[in-house]
C-alpha cells in the first residue's frame, strides 16, 4: 500500500517536472530544435558583434593531477572582420624561454585559417599548418579550436532545452563542428537567457564521451554592451588536469587597423 502511494506520488512529481521543463508541453520537432539552436547562437554572436578591435592580457594556469602548476602569460590583439573570421596577434611572455614568440592568425569562416609563427631566437617567421585544431595550446587543456573566434558557420545546431545554472536561466544548445579536423563530435553550450553569454561548455571527444568542461566566471560589461569573463576554468575529466584562464586589461576600440596584422608586426610584437 505504502509502496503504491510512493510510486504514485513519484509519477506525479515526474509528470510535473516534465511539463515544467518543456513549457510549450508539445514536443518540438527536430527541424524546430535545429532552428532554435541556430537562432540562439546567432543572437549570442550578434550581441557580441561591433566591438571593432580588442586587446587583453591572459594568464594561463596549468595544473596536473598531482597539483603541479605551470603558468603562461599571453597578450592578444584582435581585429574584428564582419565579412570573414577575425585577425589576431598572440604574443607570449611566459614561460620565459618562449618570450617574444608570437602568433599571427587570419581566421576564416570557411576553410583553413592562415597562421604564422615567429621564433625570436632564429628571427624566423614560419607559416604553419592550421589543420592542427585538436592539439593542445602550449601544453594546456585548451586546444587551438577552443581559443579561436566563434563563427556561426563553424557548427550545426540543436536546441536541447532550458536549465538553471548557477542562478541563471539558460538555454542548452548542442553544437556539432562542421570541420572534420575538429577534436570533438559535439559541444553542449549553456547560454544565459538574460544576456546571451556562454556560461558553460561540455566537450565530447571523437568517441562521443565527455572529455572536458569549461566554465566562465565573473562576467563584466564593457562599453555598455560587450560581456567578458574575468576567468574561466577548463577541466579535463579524462586526465584530471585543468587549466584556468584569467583575463585582465580588456580594452575595446583601441584603434587597431589591418596593417597591425602582418609579418612585420608579428616580428616586433611585444
Amino acid at each position: 500500500m505504502l509502496n503504491n502511494q510512493i510510486i504514485t506520488s513519484l509519477f506525479a512529481t515526474m509528470a510535473l517536472l516534465i511539463t515544467s521543463y518543456s513549457v510549450t508541453a508539445e514536443p518540438l520537432q527536430k527541424q524546430q530544435t535545429e532552428k532554435l539552436g541556430l537562432e540562439i547562437s546567432q543572437e549570442a554572436k550578434l550581441r557580441d558583434t561591433g566591438w571593432i578591435d580588442n586587446t587583453s592580457d591572459m594568464l594561463m594556469l596549468l595544473r596536473n593531477k598531482q597539483g603541479q602548476e605551470s603558468s603562461r602569460e599571453i597578450k592578444t590583439k584582435t581585429l574584428e572582420l564582419l565579412d570573414d573570421g577575425d585577425k589576431s596577434l598572440t604574443i607570449f611572455n611566459k614561460p620565459r624561454d618562449v618570450k617574444g614568440t608570437s602568433f599571427l592568425s587570419f581566421s576564416h569562416t570557411v576553410g583553413n585559417d592562415d597562421q604564422w609563427l615567429y621564433l625570436p631566437s632564429l628571427k624566423r617567421v614560419k607559416r604553419i599548418s592550421s589543420r592542427n585544431k585538436s592539439g593542445p595550446f602550449m601544453g594546456s587543456e585548451f586546444s587551438f579550436e577552443d581559443l579561436s573566434s566563434f563563427e556561426i558557420e563553424k557548427y550545426r545546431y540543436n536546441y536541447l532545452g532550458n536549465e538553471q545554472l548557477n542562478g541563471f536561466d539558460t538555454f542548452m544548445v548542442e553544437q556539432f563542428p562542421a570541420d572534420e579536423n575538429s577534436g570533438y563530435t559535439k559541444r553542449i553550450v549553456w547560454i544565459d537567457k538574460a544576456e546571451y553569454r556562454v556560461q558553460k561548455i561540455d566537450f565530447y571527444d571523437r568517441k562521443n564521451s565527455l572529455l572536458k568542461t569549461l566554465s566562465y566566471n565573473s562576467y563584466k560589461q564593457y562599453l555598455n554592451k560587450y560581456w567578458r569573463a574575468d576567468s574561466a576554468l577548463m577541466v579535463n575529466h579524462q586526465s584530471g588536469k585543468s587549466t584556468e584562464l584569467q583575463w585582465s586589461n580588456y580594452a575595446f576600440k583601441t584603434g587597431l587597423i589591418d596593417s597591425d596584422f602582418n609579418r612585420n608586426t608579428l616580428k616586433r610584437a611585444r
Partner: protein, 407 residues
C-alpha cells in the same frame, strides 16, 4: 676597433632618439635574457694534433634590454652575447647580437643598427639566408649568426613587403682554434684575411627583398650585392706554420624561396644563383614536412621531413673544391609531446648520394620548472671519402648537454 667605433655612433644615435621621448612620455622597459652551461663529450680522440681529447665545457650569457615607447612604435633593443670556453680560445668570444633602433609606421618600418635577419623556409640547409655572417664556433649547424650593421627600410604594400638593406661593414666568419674540434688538419687563421674589394671589410653591401603571401603560398625573392659570407680558404705559411688564410670575394646573389602550406603538408623550396669572379653556380634545397596530429593515442604531434640538396658545382675533385651539399638527402622526424614542459625531440639523418658521408643527430629538450631548459644532443659523423667535409670531422662524434636559465 672599427666595430667599437660603429657601436659608439649607433649608441649616440640611439641615446639621442631615446632621451626626448623618455623625458616626455612613459616608456616600457624590459630586462631579460638567458645564461647557460654546456658540456660536450667527444667519444674519440681528435684526428689532428693539439685537438682537445674528450671533454669541452663552456658557459654563456645573453641578456636583452628592451625599451619601447609610442605604444611600441619606437623600440631599442640591446642584446650582447659572450661565451667562455674551457678549451678552445677561439670559441671564447663575444658579440653584439643586436643593438638597434626601430621606428614603425602604418605601412613602413625603419630598422637601424646591429640586427639579425633570417630568410628561408627549409630546415637542413639555409641557402637563401645571406644577410648575417655565420658564428661558426657556436655550433656545427651554422644557425648561430653574428650581428650585422644595417639600415633596413621595410615597406608594406598590397602586393607584398619590400625590404631594402644597406649593410655598411662586414663580419668575418668565426672558426675554431687549434684545440677545437670540428676542423680540418689546418687551422683557419683569423689574422690572415684578405678581400677582393679595396674597401675590405668596410665594403657597403646592398640587398632588396620582396615577400608576399598568395593564398597557400608564401613567396620571397631577393638580390644581394656585396661581400661573400663564405671565405675561400687557402693553405698559407704563417711563419713556419701552415694555416688557412681567408679570402672574401664580391658576389651577386639571386635568391628565391617558397612554401606551400596545404592541409597537413608543407612544401618547401629554396634556390640561389651566385656569381663571383671565381665561379658561378646554382644551388637548391627542396622538400616537404608532413604532420601527424595526436600520435600514439596521445597529445603528441609527429612531423616527418624530407629534403634534397643540389648544387651545380658538384662534388669536390682534384681540380675544384666543389660543394659540400651537391647531391644530398636529409630525413628528419620531429616529435612534439605538447606537454606542460614542452618536451621535444628531433632526429635527423643526412647522406651524400655521390659518396660515403653520413651525419646523424638527435636533439631533445624539455623545460624544468618555469625557467630552466635542458637539452641533450647527440651527433654522429661518418665518411670514408677524404674530399667530403665530414671526413675531417669524422672523429668528432659527441654528446652535448646544455642547461639554460631564463631570467
Amino acid at each position: 676597433m672599427k666595430v667599437v667605433q660603429k657601436i659608439k655612433v649607433i649608441l649616440l644615435i640611439c641615446l639621442s632618439a631615446v632621451l626626448l621621448p623618455l623625458a616626455t612620455s612613459a616608456a616600457d622597459f624590459e630586462f631579460n635574457g638567458k645564461v647557460g652551461i654546456e658540456q660536450r663529450y667527444f667519444v674519440e680522440q681528435g684526428q689532428y694534433e693539439n685537438q682537445l681529447a674528450h671533454s669541452q665545457a663552456s658557459i654563456f650569457i645573453e641578456p636583452e634590454l628592451y625599451l619601447g615607447w609610442n605604444q611600441g612604435s619606437d623600440t631599442i633593443i640591446f642584446k650582447p652575447f659572450y661565451r667562455q670556453d674551457s678549451r678552445d680560445d677561439e670559441r671564447s668570444h663575444g658579440d653584439i647580437r643586436e643593438l638597434s633602433y626601430i621606428h614603425a609606421s602604418d605601412d613602413w618600418e625603419l630598422r637601424t643598427g646591429i640586427r639579425k635577419e633570417f630568410w628561408g623556409v627549409t630546415e637542413f640547409q639555409h641557402l637563401v639566408d645571406v644577410i648575417n655572417q655565420t658564428d661558426g664556433v657556436e655550433d656545427t649547424d651554422g644557425e648561430e649568426k653574428l650581428g650585422q650593421l644595417m639600415l633596413n627600410l621595410s615597406l608594406v604594400r598590397d602586393w607584398g613587403i619590400v625590404d631594402m638593406f644597406v649593410l655598411p661593414g662586414f663580419r668575418e666568419r668565426t672558426f675554431g682554434g687549434e684545440k677545437g674540434r670540428f676542423r680540418g688538419a689546418l687551422v683557419v687563421d683569423s689574422d690572415n684575411v684578405s678581400y677582393q674589394s679595396s674597401s675590405k671589410d668596410k665594403h657597403v653591401d646592398f640587398a632588396v627583398r620582396w615577400s608576399q603571401t598568395l593564398g597557400d603560398f608564401d613567396i620571397g625573392s631577393y638580390w644581394f650585392h656585396g661581400t661573400n659570407r663564405e671565405p675561400i680558404l687557402t693553405p698559407t705559411f704563417n711563419g713556419t706554420k701552415l694555416v688557412l688564410s681567408q679570402y672574401y670575394n664580391q658576389m651577386d646573389q639571386f635568391g628565391f624561396d617558397v612554401q606551400a602550406t596545404i592541409d597537413d603538408w608543407l612544401w618547401k623550396l629554396e634556390t640561389i644563383y651566385r656569381t663571383t669572379d671565381e665561379e658561378d653556380f646554382w644551388a637548391t634545397q627542396a622538400g616537404f614536412e608532413y604532420s601527424f596530429i595526436g600520435v600514439f593515442q596521445s597529445n603528441a604531434d609527429l612531423g616527418l621531413l624530407v629534403e634534397y640538396g643540389w648544387d651545380s658545382r658538384g662534388e669536390a675533385d682534384a681540380n675544384s673544391p666543389g660543394a659540400n651539399v651537391q647531391n644530398d638527402i636529409f630525413f628528419g622526424s620531429r616529435l612534439a609531446f605538447n606537454d606542460m614542459q614542452s618536451s621535444e625531440m628531433l632526429i635527423g639523418l643526412g647522406a651524400d648520394l655521390d659518396h660515403n658521408a653520413f651525419s646523424f643527430l638527435v636533439e631533445a629538450n624539455r623545460r624544468f620548472g618555469e625557467s630552466f631548459k635542458v637539452s641533450l644532443d647527440v651527433r654522429l659523423l661518418q665518411s670514408t671519402n677524404n674530399a667530403d667535409l665530414l671526413y675531417s670531422i669524422k672523429n668528432d662524434d659527441h654528446l652535448q648537454l646544455g642547461i639554460e636559465y631564463y631570467f
